[in-house]
Amino acid sequence: MLPSDNKQGSLLDRLTESVVRRIAGRTSRRDVLTKLGGAVAAVPTFMLLPVSRAGAATAKPKAMTPFGAKAQAKDELACDYWRYCAIDGNLCSACGGGVHTCPPGTAPSPTSWIGSCYNPQDGASYMIAYRDCCGQDSCNEVTCLNTDGDQPTYRPMANNDIIWCFGTGTSEMYNCSTAAVVGKAS
């Protein structure tokens, strides 16, 4: 059964899918796990967000989601701060850390989920890596649940439910989330 017919996937969609299936076809199961994980998780997630598609065509893209249209760029301690468009959890900026800084005594995960957020200040959209800070249980100062581009765990790098504490050198105990700019999305 094919997807609904009223829209066609973008070139990128189809490309990604075919890459994924090619990898899956010709490598060992163990390799598939690794490569597929990387490919599916890292590549399409932010590239397929509305922002990145529409943004490619216009010089000054506008906010492409309801969150982005209302986001602000001044208060890093509020849930509507523009970078937090897909954050789910405690703001590290309210826990002793900063937007891309972990509180003392925790460690940032080298892995993360990725969002694409619209910055109202410069009218550009950016790829945001939501790196969790780990090693202490939940810091509960300011808790947000934003879901722009949030997809289920079968698209792990677009999923904000996962405890992204792999490889921190601490326990995988979630303290708070940061939102680091890792590139321009548009």
Partner: protein
């Protein structure tokens, strides 16, 4: 234990025992004296004991509390939903999952602890509980498990209760198969690019995949897994399928619900078949909701955490609905819309006392429906046929995210 057990305790084996014995003897002697002195022993001296639950009724349920603010102290409550009373609780630590055997005699908790609380050796555990004593009957260490806000489909049980499936993400995706007779992990099945467990029959399960397909894993008589993939039937970034979509283990029937409100009737199995989807909105006489390409349109949409429940014998699909734009798929539902899974029509619409991120129903002929208030942790028990509020438990927990009732799955 109680004063009755004194002789047993007062067999001194060391400092600690001696001390206990001393404490107890003191109390016991004085208690005896006091009782003897009393002219009218109105109240009798009482023994301490431990209670056991009656066999579970269809309205005895588990409520899973993830306790977001103190994750390591997650727990599962046993509730008598006819009375709105807590009957007991067990630990369900750090984003734990819970599943109940079809006969409601036992349940399993997949949980994670660290030896020193937030540090030290990590223990991924599958604890098996006797549902009436709430005693642990097995406490197996697992290779790993997925640490993710708890979802029903991260832990599942086969129709005959012979296997428990544990979803892992370490960080590669896999499913551990636990033999419930030996309490051992017999194998870990890699499910690359896929996630979650929708069990079917006694020896199979499906997972949803990043490429829009279903992966169908069959465990052979030799225990070896084989995997098939369905054709892709959805596009995750345009209109993802809710992980909390309901399914029935025995016959493999599933209703995969998408962010926009499409319902894909599916029969899980080696050759899983996905039917043409129907629309929640169209079933309610409205037009279907647009997908992520038109994210600003406000309409009624499914959403929440455990955003759907199924009443099997009544063929009813319960869905939490709210008014919102696309990307509000985790917003709590202000109403529950009930659909006939055969006609695809909405048969009821019930307004909740307060918007709820989760809905549950019991499987009997007079079903109860469950909801919660995220802010207060209040737990609501409603008549599933009318939506009438029957009981409310105030501040039952911190983050009540789903219920488990006998006969589900």
């Amino acid at each position: 234990m109680s004063l009755m057990t004194l002789p047993h305790l007062c067999n001194p084996k060391g400092r600690r025992t001696a001390f206990l014995c001393s404490l107890l003897t003191g109390v016991a002697l004085l208690a005896a004296t006091a009782t003897a002195r009393a002219d009218e022993p109105i109240l009798q001296t009482e023994q301490s004991d431990v209670t056991t639950l009656a066999p579970w009724s269809p309205h005895t349920i588990l409520v899973v509390d993830a306790v977001y603010q103190h994750n390591k102290d997650g727990r599962a409550y046993v509730i008598d939903a006819d009375k709105g009373r807590l009957m007991g609780m067990v630990q369900a630590a750090y984003n734990a999952n819970v599943t109940l055997t079809p006969d409601a005699s036992h349940f399993y908790v997949g949980e994670t602890t660290w030896e020193r609380g937030n540090r030290g050796e990590r223990n991924d555990l599958l604890a098996e509980y006797d549902a009436r004593t709430l005693k642990i009957t097995a406490d197996e260490k697992l290779p790993s498990r997925a640490l993710v806000t708890p979802k029903r489909n991260d832990l599942a049980i086969s129709a005959d209760a012979s296997r428990v499936y544990v979803y892992q993400m370490s960080p590669g995706s896999g499913v551990e198969v636990v033999d419930t007779a030996t309490h051992k992990v017999t194998q870990t099945v890699d499910v690359p690019g896929c996630a979650l467990i929708y069990p079917w029959g006694n020896s199979g399960f499906s997972s949803l995949c990043a490429d829009g397909t279903l992966a169908n894993v069959s465990l052979g008589a030799d225990g070896k897994p084989s995997m098939t993939h369905s054709a892709p039937f959805f596009e995750p970034d345009h209109d993802g399928i809710f992980e909390q979509s309901p399914s029935v283990t025995k016959d493999g029937k599933a209703w995969f619900i998408s962010y926009t409100g499409k319902v894909y009737p599916t029969t899980l199995g080696v050759n899983a078949t996905v039917e043409k989807p129907w629309s929640l909105q169209e079933g309610a006489g409205m037009k279907a909701a647009p997908d992520s390409a038109k994210p600003f349109e406000v309409t009624w949409r499914p959403g929440g955490w455990q955003m759907s429940a199924l009443h099997k014998s009544r063929h009813e699909l319960y869905v939490l609905m709210h008014k919102g734009t696309f990307w509000t798929h985790k917003d709590a539902g202000s109403e529950v819309w009930v659909y006939d899974t055969e006609t695809h029509k909405r048969v009821r619409r019930m307004v909740l006392p307060v918007a709820s991120p989760m809905v549950g129903v019991t499987q009997d002929d007079n079903p109860l429906m469950f909801a919660t208030d995220e802010e207060t942790g209040d737990f609501f028990m409603l008549d599933a046929k009318s939506g009438k509020l029957l009981h409310k438990m105030k501040a039952l927990g911190g983050a009540l995210i789903f219920t488990v009732a006998p006969g589900e799955g």
